[in-house]
């Protein structure tokens, strides 16, 4: 087959072309028999990116297998177990280039149990190729692949209807898939699908346009890959710079090293540092190759600021005046990747940007059925399942929703015991206040109140002695106690106020008796032990009585330090 590729005929021509060469990362998904490995082998072979010795080694291995003279899938199935079983078991990365572009393929297996691989491959891709077997039409697995691509934020998706040679290159078959799949894809916002009929085995519409399908006038797969925009990075995206490392060659120099997650900046730009909220300006953008007048995502640079601010790894530098979400409680879509299911009682390590935090999944709102996309109630999340969760961290995260930013909106969870990566998360936003969800059903006990208030409930009745009541209220208040004042009193309130653990000072002239009442005691100041007329002495006496009744709870820290 004629190749449309231009091979430069001199090194100079080649090196000039290199200066303009872009990079496009894409992922491929398909099921065991969709011919995905064959398609990739074909891309590598037809774009002349396969070396002779690799070809000889797979031609040797092709003998005895049933896939034509050269089994292209052998170019990609790298591990022995895969070659023996004829399946692909892990994400593999492939590379090829044309004079216009360099391509990185994340080649992912399509079996249901390997959702985690598909998610991994899609996480770094800007485009996805979903393979459909023309003989079988739209199957649940194709929908799954499209859903996962969309979930991971891929906007450009190629639906390659493969094995067209086996259906007589029928336009009708192709249009039916286009119609069925088109309806399904319509539910994803911003998704730009491109449908095309191919034969990976025979090369139709892979590199060159097929002569067998004159009814199809669109671009071949290759032409499409070379012409779609290579990146979604919007020029006006907010500037985000997670600090990776502080570079300090000497005491006077503090450079903040990192990779720009989004946006661009110039020296002089006003920035704000999170979490401190301190503001400054960019003094210079430093690189090994000299200072830069401007830097953009995803460059790795070192920033110097005008002001001396305490900044550490894990902090984030943003442009002043641009908003960013800050929250300890977030909601996220979680893809579970471990054989051990999600444990709501366990703490996990969360890696977000350059930060590592402890995290607790507080609630699993629902599970997403990847075949029907329906939300199902769930109490567990197992390997290859996708759930929507509420997660909490002890110190606030600064992030953007994943839909807006695929770097600052992503995180992974790591099991603190096995150290393996167990989940991939995409932040939806700040969690709504989950008041009732956090409430424990246990009643609040008197001891719990006493521990917080530092005193138990007591009611001090002072009859008509208003001045004494004022003095007592002030002195209890100044000692940090929670004291309330009543000038009218009804005896039926007593129990509720004692249970509430409050210090109550009552001066109701309709009730002349003076007394102190607590949950387990009562002291009457009657004729035999009347309160002194002197207010200072009377207040002292009441204080002593409260102390004696055990109303004041000793500060546990103070008690410890005194060795009690």
């Amino acid at each position: 087959m004629a190749s449309p590729l231009l091979i430069p005929d001199s090194a100079e021509q080649l090196l000039i072309a290199e200066d303009r060469k872009e990079l496009l990362r894409f992922t491929t998904a398909g099921s065991v028999d969709d011919g995905k490995s064959t398609l990739i082998g074909r891309l590598l072979y037809d774009s002349k990116n396969v070396y002779l010795d690799q070809l000889e080694s797979v031609t040797k291995a092709s003998e005895g297998r049933n896939a034509g003279p050269i089994d292209f899938s052998l170019l990609t199935d790298g591990l022995r177990a895969e070659r023996e079983q004829g399946i692909t078991i892990d994400v593999a990365y492939r590379y090829f280039s044309t004079p216009k572009r360099k391509f990185i393929i994340a080649d992912t297996p399509g079996h249901e149990q390997f959702t985690r691989n598909m998610v991994t491959g899609a996480s770094t891709a800007e485009l996805a190729i979903v393979l459909v077997d023309a003989r079988k039409g739209l199957l649940p697995q194709s929908r799954r692949h499209a859903f996962i691509s969309a979930l991971l934020g891929i906007k450009r998706i190629v639906i390659a209807v493969n094995k067209m040679d086996l259906v007589g290159y029928s336009e009708e078959v192709f249009r039916q898939v286009e119609l069925d799949f088109g309806k399904f894809l319509a539910q994803f916002e911003d998704l730009q699908p491109y449908f095309l009929p191919i034969s990976a085995l025979l090369g139709d519409n892979v590199v060159a346009r097929s002569e067998q399908m004159p009814w199809f006038t669109g671009r071949s797969l290759f032409e499409h890959l070379e012409s779609v925009p290579a990146t979604d990075r919007a020029a006006g995206a907010p500037f985000r710079f997670p600090v990776q490392r502080v570079i300090r060659p000497d005491l006077d120099y503090r450079g903040y090293a990192g990779q720009i997650a989004s946006g661009s900046l110039r020296p002089g730009d006003r920035v704000v540092v999170l979490p401190s909220g301190r503001a400054s300006r960019i003094k210079s953008i430093v690189t090994f190759d000299g200072e830069k007048a401007e830097a953009q995502s995803p460059e790795s640079v070192t920033l110097l600021l005008e002001d001396e601010i305490d900044i550490a790894r894990g902090d984030l530098i943003a442009r002043a005046g641009e908003t960013i979400e800050v929250a300890r409680s977030i909601e996220a879509t979680l893809v579970w990747m471990s054989e051990e299911p999600l444990d709501l009682r366990k703490r996990y390590r969360l890696k977000h940007n350059t930060r590592l935090e402890w995290a607790e999944v507080k609630k699993l709102h629902h599970r997403i059925n990847i075949n029907t996309l329906e939300h199902e109630p769930a109490h567990r999340l197992e390997m290859n399942e996708i759930g929507f969760i509420h997660l909490e961290v002890p110190r606030a995260l600064y992030f953007d929703p994943y839909k807006r930013n695929r770097t600052t909106g992503a995180f992974v969870l790591i099991d603190p015991f096995s150290n393996s990566t167990v989940a991939a998360g995409m932040i939806a936003g700040v969690a709504k206040p989950a008041f009732e969800e956090r409430a424990s059903l246990r009643p609040v006990r008197i001891e719990e109140r006493a521990a917080r208030l530092k005193h138990r409930g007591a009611i001090v009745q002072l009859g008509s002695r208003e001045g004494l009541a004022d003095r007592l209220e002030r002195s209890l208040f100044d000692r940090g106690f929670t004291v309330v004042r009543f000038r009218q009193w009804a005896p039926e309130w007593k129990q509720a106020l004692l249970d509430a653990g409050l210090l109550v000072v009552v001066n109701d002239s309709a009730l002349p008796a003076c007394a102190i009442e607590t949950a387990g005691s009562r002291v009457d100041f009657d004729e035999s032990a009347a309160l002194p007329a002197n207010e200072v002495a009377a207040a002292q006496l009441i204080g002593d009585a409260l102390e004696k009744a055990g109303v004041f709870v000793a500060d546990p820290e103070l008690a410890e330090s005194e060795g009690i």
Partner: protein, 300 residues
């Protein structure tokens, strides 16, 4: 702003990876092989930590059978950029007579490379070994993670690798375990050469074509540097214009016929070339899938 070309994107990613290892691991070390990929890696390290120094040492596993020009380049290059170099050799195996001729290539590599590397890492208590391996080199490497976990015996389990998403690398390990980190994972051989050209990175002169004395058998050119490399039946000693496409031990690294004596000429040659760069490495062809087996055992 102009869009960044693919080399700048690869560079940015590699620098990010190097800063992550240096920040998250306790005792990283850079495995320095003297080859072109190592030269690129060292330049990326200089860029990642500029204007500070490279915050970890370089470790060279010396089999004692490397080309003399490699050792000379190593010593000059590392001294010129002021980085700490540690050299580790499996002396015991050499004393027992380890040569690819006496022991066979598999056993010789096992002792002088794999075992020496594991011993060297243990001796320095390193928890992360940064290497210049690329995924396009060999089929089993296509599935290698950027942060690749090795158990307490230094072994790789390809069926139980940690998922690796976005640019969020998992560096968590227990004492005794270690990580291999590959900042050049997404580079191809062509990218490496283009970067060497764009950045004017110094490389060992063996990569450039020159008239050299070789043991010639058909297409195979074997350098004669070691006394135990002697002429076999059907071989003849000839002066030929040739260069090394990759650098290993001199008895096991064949040269290729070439006139390419500059980096652009090498790139041009590469474009016309239809053989992958490891093809002149005798050790890879022992058995089908032999690189995968070596890696499982701890080979780099």
């Amino acid at each position: 702003m102009p869009t960044l070309n693919h080399l700048r994107l690869l560079e940015a990613e590699s620098i990010h990876i190097l800063r992550e290892v240096a920040s998250e691991c306790q005792r990283p070390v850079l495995l320095y092989s003297i080859g072109k990929d190592s030269s690129v890696l060292v330049r990326l390290c200089q860029k990642a930590f500029y204007p500070g120094p490279i915050p970890f040492p370089l470790l060279h596993i010396d089999t004692s059978y490397k080309f003399r020009e490699m050792i000379k380049f190593r010593d000059q290059f590392t001294a010129s950029i002021g980085v700490k170099l540690i050299v580790h050799t499996n002396r015991a195996a050499l004393d027992d007579g380890a040569t690819p001729y006496a022991w066979g290539t598999q056993r010789c590599c096992g002792a002088l490379k794999t075992q020496a590397l594991l011993d060297g890492l243990r001796a320095g208590a390193y928890d992360a070994a940064i290497g210049g391996a690329r995924r396009d080199e060999e089929r089993s490497r296509a599935k290698e993670r950027v942060f690749s976990f090795r158990d307490s015996r230094g072994q790789w389990n390809p069926r139980n690798q940690r998922p690796e998403l976005w640019s969020l690398y998992n560096s968590r390990i227990e004492p005794g375990e270690h990580l291999r980190v590959f900042p050049l994972s997404n580079w191809t051989e062509l990218d490496v050469w283009q970067y060497i050209h764009a950045e004017k990175i110094p490389i060992v002169p063996l990569y450039f074509a020159k008239v050299r004395q070789m043991l010639v058998t058909g297409d195979s050119l074997i350098p004669v540097e070691q006394p135990f490399v002697t002429m076999g039946p059907g071989q003849e000693l000839k002066w030929v214009k040739c260069r090394m496409r990759s650098l290993g031990c001199s008895p096991c690294t064949g040269a290729i016929y070439s006139d390419a004596d500059t980096v652009p000429k090498i790139i041009e040659e590469l474009f016309g070339m239809r053989r992958s760069e490891r093809q002149n490495r005798i050790i890879d062809h022992d058995t089908d899938g032999s690189m995968e087996l070596k890696k499982q055992e701890g080979y780099f």
